[in-house]
């Protein structure tokens, strides 16, 4: 007879794995990738492939030559970082800038902290914000959708709805006149507007959200808290003065709110552990985003908001505990 294995319980496992979760998120990003390829064509393809390949390459190279530990590139997390990084860049970004962004994302954002599971900040956003600050011109030239399908570096560019609104309001225009200069809500919902490669199509991102919720990859808490708090905050501002502050739908459908709320803020490693903590974190992201967009210098603030709240996660985890069994004491009737 074989020798019997003796180990402590439990003796069965759900079969869930890190790999399944990472590839699950990648699958959830497929609709957004399809939208990106449809609107930005060649440029989107080049940016995506470059970012994914270089992120995986840098992770492999750092583990092999610097850390000298087992390679984890097959777990899908590096590819996911690459994909998210690509989604956060304009589709006409030169290859060399993408490679620098990937190196910063993987090298500084992830591996310098010890690799998967240890990075306090979302690596893809570390890469993106580094590029935004270092290459502000290249990072804010936005190819026009559909017309730039067959173009890469030579794509015709234009402003994003957010920058149109920001500039207009700064020049003393009203919200209603500016709204006529940007795509309709329906067009915004399906992604027919300027912006980063993967952030434009709210519809595609929401399909990804539903997929992740069904597969239990993430819970609803963070996306709902981010989207809800942005809607409420901008809604209040809009009610106060509809000609100075754009409405909630405008804010939700433009820029990186959907991509950020669904895919960036929900990054396992850099988000809180308890449901209540997730809601606090999500509201923080929503509020900071609106403050930057409405009162700050940048037209867009999602990436900054997420990175700032990433910094609060250890604090949130320390003070916000999950609801404990028996906490609400319902004792026997006397």
């Amino acid at each position: 007879m074989n020798r019997l294995t003796v180990s402590p319980s439990p003796h069965v496992h759900s079969g869930d794995s890190v790999k399944k979760n990472m590839y699950g998120v990648i699958i959830a990003l497929v609709p957004a990738l399809a939208a990106s390829l449809y609107y930005f064509g060649l440029g989107a393809a080049i940016v995506t492939i470059t970012a994914v390949v270089s992120c995986v390459f840098f992770e492999w190279a750092i583990q092999k030559y610097l850390l000298k530990n087992d390679s984890t590139i097959m777990d899908g997390s590096a590819a996911l970082t690459g994909l998210l990084l690509a989604f956060n860049m304009p589709s006409n970004l030169p290859i060399w800038i993408i490679i620098i962004g990937s190196l910063v994302a993987i090298g500084i954002g992830k591996m310098s902290f010890g690799g998967l599971g240890n990075n306090p900040f979302n690596p893809a956003l570390v890469g993106r914000v580094f590029l935004l600050i270092s290459f502000p011109v290249q990072m804010t030239l936005w190819p026009k959708p559909i017309v730039s399908q067959a173009h890469y570096l030579d794509a015709e560019t234009g402003a994003t709805p957010l920058s149109v609104m920001k500039e207009g309001l700064a020049n003393g225009e009203t919200v209603s006149t500016m709204m006529s200069k940007i795509p309709s809500y329906t067009e915004l919902f399906f992604g027919n507007s300027g912006g980063s490669a993967g952030e434009i199509a709210a519809a595609a991102l929401l399909i990804g959200l539903i997929f992740m919720l069904i597969r239990k990859i993430i819970t609803w808490h963070i996306p709902v808290a981010v989207i809800g708090s942005i809607a409420v905050f901008t809604g209040i501002l809009h009610l106060v003065n509809p000609e100075v502050y754009a409405g909630p739908l405008f804010h939700l459908l433009t820029g990186g709110v959907m991509l950020g709320a669904i895919f960036m803020a929900t990054d396992y490693v850099s988000s809180p552990m308890a449901n209540k903590g997730m809601i606090i974190y999500g509201i923080g992201i929503g509020v900071i985003t609106v403050v930057i967009r409405v009162f700050g210098a940048y037209p867009e603030g999602v990436s900054f908001a997420i990175l700032i709240m990433n910094g609060f996660v250890p604090l949130i985890d320390k003070y916000v505990k999950p609801k404990r069994f028996g906490e609400v004491v319902k004792t026997a009737k006397a």
Partner: protein
């Protein structure tokens, strides 16, 4: 919406291969080894010596305290020796070894099949009888039953909750008992109600056993005060705290007992034992054991005498499969992996699960990705990832602060972890250490 408990929970593959298999009486073994420590609390003290003749049901080791239990001979024959044997814990423990001769039962035991519904014993007599009969929690926890029935002064029991959940995958012993011994369980319930002086009892059954729910509901019509509560399938619903929460919506505060919320919980198997002890004068020396597994040729439910070696049950279920990699006493979530098939079954043996080799090994442990799935499945609302870290780093005060002692060791966290982290292993380590520190403080 079916009721269930409020926090966490998982749903492992049920694999109830032996469901619907009639309870088969296992032949009396040639020799039994009866450990003297088969319950929570103080080990019993043998009252027989080498060479003594014993009958079935005769007291062979007596309880040594309030939280302890009597042990009765499961066979008739001669005491061969009292010696250390390897039991299910993997350690050497004292056991009374008896060589069987015939099957002569103590005369006072009523061996007829007649159902006796009239309860003549007073509450005090019932509790004494349950204690004398050596009845312990048969769901696996083996806590002496008479202790739970003795409601401490100042507390009142409002409701008796019976555990017919059998939330452990694979196991079917309680399910089959409810199907075959429903009436006896009902009378046992009424005996327990009388002892606890309550007029309400709830039997919780998960809805993966629709036949048991139907059967027990039909029977409950004949017995006043008993209701059947169908429950949504969710592990660990059979945990005492979770079951009370699911049935009556009350949560026991940290570190307290069920009586704090006016409830007492007993397993259905225990209830049957109570019936037999009070109405038939039969002490606890046999029980229903499920023998099952993916490669087991004849998954079965056996009525077996305590002290029977596992391999006799396994042989009766078609023998140990070729591909066996692990033998578990109990279910896959909370059962104990055994080092040998020679160990005897005890009062707490609800099942024997035989796992093929490919399922016996754990997956490779990876880095924690902070997915928070362990937090969301924990039925006690703890943070397993954090408890593992503080236990690993020996930060015991933090472990205590994070309520490590609330952990019921259900294993939902380790079961769920995508990175295959041995969360519960570390939490157990931490619990042991923190428990020790807490006890030394009260001294």
């Amino acid at each position: 919406m079916l009721k269930t408990f409020s926090l966490g929970g998982v749903h492992p593959a049920e694999n109830k291969f032996s469901a619907g298999q009639k309870i088969e009486v296992l032949p009396v073994p040639e020799q039994v080894s009866v450990p003297i420590a088969q319950h929570i609390g103080a080990p019993s003290e043998p009252v027989v010596a080498k060479g003594d003749e014993v009958k079935v049901g005769q007291l062979i080791a007596k309880s040594t305290g309030f939280v302890s239990a009597n042990i009765h001979s499961p066979v008739s024959g001669k005491v061969f020796k009292i010696d250390d044997i390897i039991d299910a814990s993997g350690y050497k423990r004292k056991a009374i070894i008896i060589k069987t001769e015939g099957d002569e039962w103590d005369e006072s035991i009523d061996r007829s099949e007649d159902l006796i519904t009239e309860i003549t014993a007073t509450p005090e007599e019932i509790i004494t009888k349950v204690g004398e009969a050596g009845i312990v929690g048969l769901g696996g926890a083996t806590f002496p039953a008479h202790v739970k029935l003795s409601v401490p002064p100042g507390k009142t029991c409002e409701v008796l909750i019976l555990n017919g959940v059998e939330c452990e995958p694979y196991l079917t012993a309680d399910h089959q008992l409810m199907m075959e011994k429903g009436d006896e369980i009902m009378v046992g319930t009424q005996i327990l109600m009388k002892a606890l002086k309550v007029d309400k009892a709830i039997i919780g059954i998960e809805n993966n056993k629709p036949d048991a729910i139907k059967h027990m509901s039909e029977l409950a019509g004949k017995y006043p005060g008993i209701t059947i509560q169908p429950l949504k399938v969710q592990y660990p619903q059979g945990g005492e705290k979770q079951l009370i929460d699911a049935c009556i919506g009350r949560q026991i505060p940290s570190g307290k007992l069920p009586i704090e919320v006016g409830a007492v919980v007993q397993n259905v198997g225990t209830t049957l034992a109570v019936y037999e002890a009070v109405q038939k004068n039969k002490p606890l020396f046999e029980r229903v054991v499920t023998v099952t597994g993916k490669s087991v040729s004849k998954p079965s439910n056996f009525l077996a005498r305590v002290g029977t070696p596992l391999n006799q049950l396994i042989d009766a279920a078609g023998g140990l499969p070729e591909d066996t990699g692990k033998v578990i006493g109990g279910g896959p979530m909370m059962g104990k992996a055994l080092s040998s098939t020679e160990v005897p079954i005890t009062k707490g043996s609800s099942g024997i699960l035989i796992m093929p080799d490919e399922m016996a090994k754990r997956g490779k442990t990876e880095a924690c990705i902070r997915c928070s799935k362990c937090v969301s499945v924990c039925p006690m609302g703890l943070s397993p990832y954090l408890l593992m870290t503080v236990s690993d780093k020996a930060i015991w005060d933090r472990a205590e602060e994070e309520k490590i002692m609330d952990c019921i060791e259900c294993g939902s966290c380790s079961f769920t972890c995508p990175a295959n982290r041995p969360l519960l292993d570390y939490i157990r380590l931490g619990k042991g250490k923190v428990g020790q520190i807490m006890r030394s403080r009260t001294k």
